[in-house]
Amino acid sequence: MRLALRPYLLIVPALLLTCGILYPFGLGLYYTLFDFSASKPQPDMVRFENYTTVFTQEAFWNSAWVTVLYAVGAALAETVLGVAVALLLHRSTLVGRVLEKILILPLMIAPVIAAIIWKLMLQPSVGVVNYLLRPFGLGGVQWTDTPTGALLSSIAVDVWVYTPFVAILALAGLRSLPASPFEAAAVDGAGWWYTFRRLTLPMLWPYVLVAVIFRFMDSLKVFDIIYALTEGGPGDSTVVLQIRAYLEAIRFQRYSFGISYTIVLWAVVYLAAMVLVKHLGKIQRKAAEVTT
């Protein structure tokens, strides 16, 4: 009897976790079929009207565009910088080992706190950034006052917080690469660039892509950094989908409508993850070919 129960007992934690995720998700999905709001606590079933409204709103397409720009910009910059930093730290020097430890510091700061710190630093009149730029004639830059500036500043904060994450993953990848292909290339007299392009990068790609998947998915769901830095402004220029969902569901109390935004965001994240994971499989196979 005890043996027969064991498999079921073993899955209990996973089952509870799954239910903990799926129950609110299913409930939310169900709510989106109604017009539930604070002003209508006894709602009517409206079927897919919330989704129709979402997709026909100019605000949605603006938010979707801003979200994609943010996610692509942040993930791309973090990947390039993260890999570059990892390559620099790969040589096991004393400086490299010290920098490795320091590099982790931004990851230990909550993103919302990082955004608040950066908001103060970017403040044109009292912020340290403009103070440092003043000798170069750039002391008057208003970082978050223009749509482009606000978006780029938000991406910059994201890059500051999460580049170490990509760098650490890439560094771990670099250190786990087999030595023999590099030794063979050295014997054949291959140059640094050739080795990097034909050996290091193909073998490192699976690690980098894992980092990209995490960062891209996470950036699609961004809320804290942008809300703390710009609140979505100026105008609607940094209102990403999560901020729109928060405003609708919590601030304006149109619960069903706000949740519809979240469900759409979930679908976007899910699809993006599917595509990237499929790509990861191909890259892993390619990397295996290079190794062998």
Binding site: F25, P41, S125, I213, T230, G232, T262, A273, R285
Partner: protein
């Protein structure tokens, strides 16, 4: 290999699903936040003579916002417990997330908190779903309310601001009393007397003068020993809170309305030709004399800049300047004076206000004890004490505003009492009451930012009016 990939897919799908979970859970676990309200009030159950000790041994749970008024309340809670035998447990949250916490708590239908702080605007959002107890029956019941509470002692415009019939567009001062005024703020101009003296300036009496004054300070103050000083601090963040202080005050002084109401139907009026012209002027004033990075400015930055001598003037809540003006509070303390601000073209000093109020959860199981708490917290004795010994200024009660000790305390701030007395009768909520207030004003703030950024005021405000017409009409 495929299985491997599918496993990852499932994992990623669950992870993506988890992204949605917090918001979904925050929205509560079921419909029905508005149980049908009975006709009777729990206040009707209180009979006999009034007794402070009626609920001795009860514990009341309060949700409070971090604020000097709150500090004064907490410091005096022992007096309440000594008088009533009621214990008060409280949670204090910073303003940034206070209202999210309160909204989620009330919408969940649980009675986690019996009493809480709210603004009068929140009555428009929390009242219609039935989350707020109508305090009218409690106030009218002499068994529940002591004679010394003295309703007539409140400034009538403040009491009326928390009273509403729950119908969009209906004027305040009718219907249920959904909260009690506890502390409030008028929106006036505070200025740095040092820079005004050095540059030979005097406070503006018209909006055009204010714009010129702000531009003059920004241009001349840095060269007169006020490094980095700009003209006027006003809020600019993408938040409803940007609209209600200086902007709405000046908007109202120009005789402008947010909505017109006709037969219960609301029509946005922020795109009328006069409103468009005023909004353009406001954006121009900010550009010429406002702070750098204005679009991130909240009350906190505005207030801090006045205190740090970065702003020559502040057009915002009088309390925002007061907390910088008190002795030792900031580099500018002792050098801040108050003025009612520019008059409208017809001499109007119509002023918008913010009222920190106290409300009761309609789902509370301890309404009688909660009412005793509200009665005490808005009573003469506590409010007088907190105004004199703490920083609970701008009294909601006439008796405290006229109290000699209070006046003595405030007299050292140039123009504070005179400004208060000048605008108090013309201060009221200048917005049209309606449940979509926060959506409307947040969108309005976003529109203001776009106009400041160079977009045409006419097209931006037309777009705003179109958007709002569908939501509030």
């Amino acid at each position: 290999m495929d299985t491997h990939v599918h496993d990852r897919r499932r994992f990623l799908a669950l992870a993506a699903g988890a992204a949605a979970a917090p918001l979904l859970t925050a929205c509560g676990a079921g419909f029905g936040g508005n149980d049908s309200k009975g006709d009777g009030s729990a206040a009707d159950d209180i009979t006999g003579s009034f007794d402070w000790k009626r609920e001795k041994g009860t514990t009341v749970k309060a949700l409070l916002n971090k604020h000097p008024y709150t500090d004064a309340l907490i410091a005096d809670l022992k007096s309440f417990t000594a008088r009533t035998g009621i214990k008060v447990e409280y949670d204090v949250f910073p303003e940034d997330n206070y209202f999210d916490k309160l909204t989620v708590d009330l919408s969940s239908g649980r009675a986690s908190y019996d009493v809480f702080m709210l603004g009068a605007y929140m009555v428009w959002q929390y009242g219609p779903p039935g989350w707020l107890e109508d305090l009218g029956p409690w106030m009218r019941n002499s068994a529940a309310t002591g004679a010394e509470w003295d309703q007539a002692d409140f400034f009538p415009n403040l009491l009326q601001a928390d009273q509403w019939s729950l119908k969009a567009g209906a004027p305040l001062g009718q219907g249920g009393q959904y909260a009690l005024p506890w502390g409030w703020e008028t929106n006036v101009v505070a200025y740095n007397t040092e820079v005004f003296g050095k540059l030979g300036l005097k406070p503006a009496e018209s909006f055009d003068e204010l714009t010129e004054l702000a531009a003059t300070i920004k241009r001349k103050a840095p060269g007169a020993g006020f490094d980095g000083m700009y003209g006027i601090a006003v809020r600019g963040s993408r938040s409803w809170a940007t609209i209600h202080p200086g902007f709405m005050t000046m908007y109202a002084r120009n005789g402008l309305k947010d909505f017109t109401v006709d037969g219960g139907k609301l029509t946005p009026a922020m795109n009328s030709p006069e409103a468009v012209a005023f909004t353009e002027d406001w954006a121009r004033m900010v550009k010429r004399g406002g702070p750098p990075s204005w679009t991130s400015y909240t009350w906190y930055q505005c207030s801090s800049d006045l205190g740090a001598k970065k702003a020559g003037m502040l057009f915002d809540a009088d309390t925002a300047a007061y907390f910088q003006a008190v002795k030792g509070a900031s580099p500018a303390s002792g050098k801040i004076a108050f003025h009612p601000g520019p008059k409208g073209p017809d001499g109007s000093l119509a002023t918008n206000m913010w009222i920190w109020s106290l409300g009761m959860n309609a789902k509370s199981k301890k309404k009688s004890a909660s009412w005793l708490f509200l009665q005490w917290a808005t009573g003469k004795e506590h409010l007088r004490k907190s105004a004199i010994t703490h920083n609970h200024i701008d009294p909601v009660r006439k008796s405290v505003a006229e109290d000699a000790a209070y006046k003595d305390k405030m007299r050292h701030l140039p123009g504070f009492l005179e400004t208060f007395e000048t605008v108090v009768d013309q201060t009221k909520i200048q917005f049209t009451p309606q449940a979509q207030f926060f959506d409307a004003t947040t969108s309005w703030a976003a529109a203001l930012q776009e106009i400041y950024g160079g977009k045409g005021a006419r097209s931006v405000l037309d777009g705003l009016a179109d958007d709002l017409a569908g939501k509030v009409g």
